[in-house]
Amino acid sequence: MSEQALSRALSRRSQLARLKKQVSDLLFHAYGFWGYLFLYFPIIILVVFSFNDSRSTAQWAGFTTHWYADMLKDHQIILSLWNSLFVAIVSTTVSVIIGTLAALAMERYRFWGKLMMDAVLYLPIIIPDIAMAIMLLIFFDISGIGFEPWKVNFFGAHLAVPYSVIIGHVAFNISFVAVVVRARLAQMDQVLEEAAQDLYADPWRTFWRVTFPMLLPGILGGALLAFTLSMDDFVITFFTSGAGFNTLPVRVFGMIKKGVTPKINAVSTLMLLFSLMLVAISLILSRGGEKGDSSGNPMF
């Protein structure tokens, strides 16, 4: 009798617990849904209205691709795109080399002033872009470097890219590359380098045969990050370019001042697509790294 009552009470209690869990799950999922909606709704609007057949960016008036055609015919936009790519490629290459060496120095060697360098290396990541931009501007001014352009023929496009912009991009990219490569290096067991030396590899060959291949996913991850940051950068480019030089984000900013049109939406959509592509590549790369050993790319 009393046993039955007890078991009934117990089952009622477990039903109650189940109900509670269902409700909380529901709330949790709803919360997630609203969160995502909040994040992605503006992006969806942006993309949708880049196909809007009207100058208005608020009212839907049918589908068109002519804003994209318009964009491709705009020489200013195309030139700024080439500028962006050139700055990104050059600054990424330089900062990957310097950043990787800095990471190696920090992880593998002891030297005087290491603590100091540690702090300085991370500085560009933490200080506001605007502060960095003003610092650079003052630096170029008083050092006499100025905004001297690098005249170059880049796949047929005749560019004039100020050295100051490239130096500015290198200055912040080094930090990001160093952080990513260093994380990878910290995960890498140093005993592997000892094993290589035990097998008659001198330090030079130890680096190229063991350290570098194992570091490669980290270096590529750092490179992609640097490239993306460089393509996206507005503040530092704006301050260090002097007059008349536009990268894509700077160009878009200039266009907005004359009023927002769906053409800007089209440019933004293209930039979005490009960024997504880079993220996808980095994900694929880090998977590849994981296949080789357990430590994946730490950044992505």
Binding site: L192, L199, Y200, D293, S294
Partner: protein, 370 residues
């Protein structure tokens, strides 16, 4: 003409800042020997090995390999190879590439590399696994790749740092005999680091027992087990009973020893031990060297009258298959463990709570100074 040793350490000291990891070690390891460094965690085994390999430079002292002073030679110029504790296989290379690495670095011709890699993999029974990645191998297989990667270079000395430490017990036993057979086959000097005393006893030609950066005793497994020269060695290798008391009379290597309750027993003095009559001291006796009988009876052995006898009370019996373990409390409550094979009838009549007599031969009771 002095003998050339495979490895000779002379007064080697290694300090890491304040920590003295190796405290003046001298060792002579012979050509073709299977030599083990045995000791508890943190005693300096790995550091000693790394000093030989060249990963660490001695604070003072000298390291010679086949008579040649190594000085500050870096690891890649020393004629030794190492098998690392966690294998340290290159994860981005296949098994064959791992094994070929050392030969490539020494610029051995391509076709010879191919042949020797195949030979080495056959030696460790991994033929057919050439193109696997280390990740796709079991622990035992990784172990064998590490071994092949070192042996393929035909080093003069192979250094092994707890190579079986990460394997489960069964695989470990199998690898022990495999490794020992391999060493006999290739005839290379092995220096083997372990903290497992049984492993060291089974595999080694000679063992150096280490503690706190010092080598306490060097000898064959039998010498180390049967004739420990210090309390630490006796305790670390196998199970030992310690019985304390006072030295009464010394004559040659014979010691008459008085237990706290007045019982006189006979013991053996180890070579070179500095003890004199009246000193407090400790006897060490292995549990399997003691006979236990009901009180007043004699064990069934030839020289029963010559045995020392001590009485006590049987506290507990543990049955462990091949043997029984008797825990006997002496007059001063010192507990003594006795191990008896499940053949002996006389001891089997003893029950917990009974008065019993323990018997041992003089040769088996060794005196250790406190």
């Amino acid at each position: 003409m002095s003998e050339t040793y495979a490895v000779e350490l002379k007064n080697v000291v290694k300090q890491f800042g304040e920590v003295v990891a190796v405290n003046g070690i001298s060792l002579r390891i012979r050509d073709g020997e299977f030599f083990s460094l045995l000791g508890p965690s943190g005693c300096g085994k790995t550091t000693t090995l790394r000093l030989i390999a060249g990963f660490e430079m001695p604070t003072s002292g000298s390291v010679r390999i086949y008579g040649e002073e190594q000085g500050y030679l870096p690891p890649y110029q020393r004629p030794v190879n190492t098998v690392f504790q966690n294998y340290a296989l290159f994860p981005h290379m296949t098994v064959a590439q791992n094994v070929a690495f050392g030969l490539e670095m020494r610029k051995v011709p391509k076709d010879e590399i191919k042949r020797r890699v195949a030979e080495a993999l056959a030696l460790v029974r991994l033929t057919g696994k050439e193109n696997r990645r280390p990740k796709q191998l079991s622990g035992g297989q990784k172990q064998r790749v590490a071994l092949a990667r070192a042996l393929v270079n035909r080093p003069k000395v192979l250094l092994l740092d707890e190579p079986l430490g990460a394997l489960d017990l069964k695989l470990r036993k199998a690898m022990q005999s495999e490794l020992k057979a391999l060493q006999e086959q290739v005839g290379i000097t092995f220096i083997y680091v372990t903290h497992d005393q049984e492993e060291a006893l089974v595999m080694s030609d000679r063992i150096a027992v280490m503690n706190e950066g010092n080598v306490l005793q060097v000898g064959t497994p039998e010498e180390i087990y049967e004739h420990p020269q210090s309390r630490f060695v006796a305790d670390f290798i196998g199970k030992t009973n310690f019985i304390s008391g006072k030295v009464a009379v010394i004559s040659g290597d014979r010691v008459d020893f008085r237990l706290p309750d007045g019982t006189m027993v006979a013991a053996t003095l180890p070579e070179g031990a500095q003890v004199s009559a009246g000193d407090m001291a400790t006897l060490s006796i292995r549990p399997e060297k003691i006979f236990v009988t009901p009180e007043g009876e004699q064990p069934l052995v030839g020289d029963a009258e010559a045995l020392s006898q001590v009485s006590g009370r049987l506290v507990k019996i543990f049955y462990v298959g091949v043997e029984r373990r008797y825990i006997v409390a002496l007059a001063d409550d010192t507990e003594v463990e006795v191990r008896v094979q499940n053949l002996d009838r006389r001891s089997r009549r003893c029950q917990p709570g009974d008065r019993v007599t323990l018997h041992w031969r003089r040769a088996h009771a060794r005196l250790l100074k406190e």
